[in-house]
Point group: C2
Chain length 174, copies 2
DNA sequence: GATTTTTTATAGTGACTGCTACAAAAAAAT
DNA sequence: ATTTTTTTGTAGCAGTCACTATAAAAAATC
């Protein structure tokens, strides 16, 4: 997970993954079936853990604006580089990958995440849920990309706060 | 340019680039020196043309908020997929690349673009130029990523309008 | 028209890619 | 303790990567 997250799907080889896991290629394929098979498991583990900032924000309770604001703040905390990994594995792990399978897996995970946000927003703003979800997703993708380009916690936190205010404004009025 | 833009730096081979240009490898290397050499020229040409949405918005005149709003609107028009290319070549062309040279070239182009936006904003809001530039850059990166994931002009346009309102709000007050 | 210079195509460099055949070693079952 | 099954390491599969040595063709010069 650390390797995929740090360098992206294509840039990490099976030999290196095996070396990190302490196994040789045949054991790797016996365990995971393929490189994409490990990536699928990696994405699942990633989305089931603390990296799922929306799920964590949701657990804190509150109305839609509160949860979304918390989601953005958590992303700003999580995304900056830590031990080489930066940004969101789901959003950027298979970006520019030449492997259609890896792209499809990441795409499915992204759709799942966006659907969760959209459905949650729909409870309070059913007719604007799609547009508001797009705002959140674009903000998260932008923050993930910025983190991968070196943005630190301070800068991302400021952006997250501005995005939070933007969301509240769009949510409440206009 | 089209190939790099559509699939990213690493996913395009020199052989394919040569085939598209109608030349064979030796001529390719005589002309560009290396794959990264062509990428550098590609980035320059890209940033010098209509893809530089900030330069185009700037040419239209107006105050900071007007120009930034126009920049975002132009990005929403340009980024959706056209003949396989989507998003911004500078922002996403070398994302997850394993080639340090390609990364450095794209990084330099990104820094240049951000500096132009930052300096322009600084004329009206010198003490908040960095934070506001981050907001714009994150919005652009997010829109580019969303476009690469299939977002169309309508969805990106809505996001651009919301980002524009967010920028005006942050610019003018509080 | 002969010679020199430039450009190009053929072919292949070593190093990598994801993945696997085979056989040796370890574990489990009889 | 012997046999069977599972797991593992060695080695290498065909393919692709960016890149280049060599030699033939084309262009330019004299």
């Amino acid at each position: 997970m650390r390797l995929f997250h740090a360098r992206g799907y294509d840039a990490v080889g099976v030999a290196e993954l095996g070396a990190e896991l302490g196994i040789k290629p045949p054991s790797f394929y016996a365990a995971f079936g393929s490189k994409a098979g490990l990536f699928e498991r990696t994405l699942r583990r990633y989305a089931a853990g603390e990296a799922n900032v929306f799920a964590r924000a949701l657990a804190g309770g509150g109305d839609v604006a509160t949860v979304i604001g918390r989601t953005l703040a958590l992303a700003a905390e999580l995304y900056p580089s830590q031990e080489g990994t930066a940004g969101c594995l789901v959003l950027d792990g298979a970006r520019n990958s030449a492997d259609p399978e890896a792209q499809a897996l990441a795409d499915a995970a992204k759709r799942e995440g966006r659907a969760a946000v959209r459905d949650f927003i729909a409870a309070e703003a059913p007719d604007r849920a799609d547009a508001l979800a797009d705002l959140v997703v674009v903000a998260m993708m932008g923050m993930s990309a910025a983190a991968r380009d070196g943005a630190d916690r301070e800068r991302l936190g400021r952006v997250a706060a501005m995005m939070d205010r933007a969301f509240r404004r769009e949510m409440s009025g206009a």
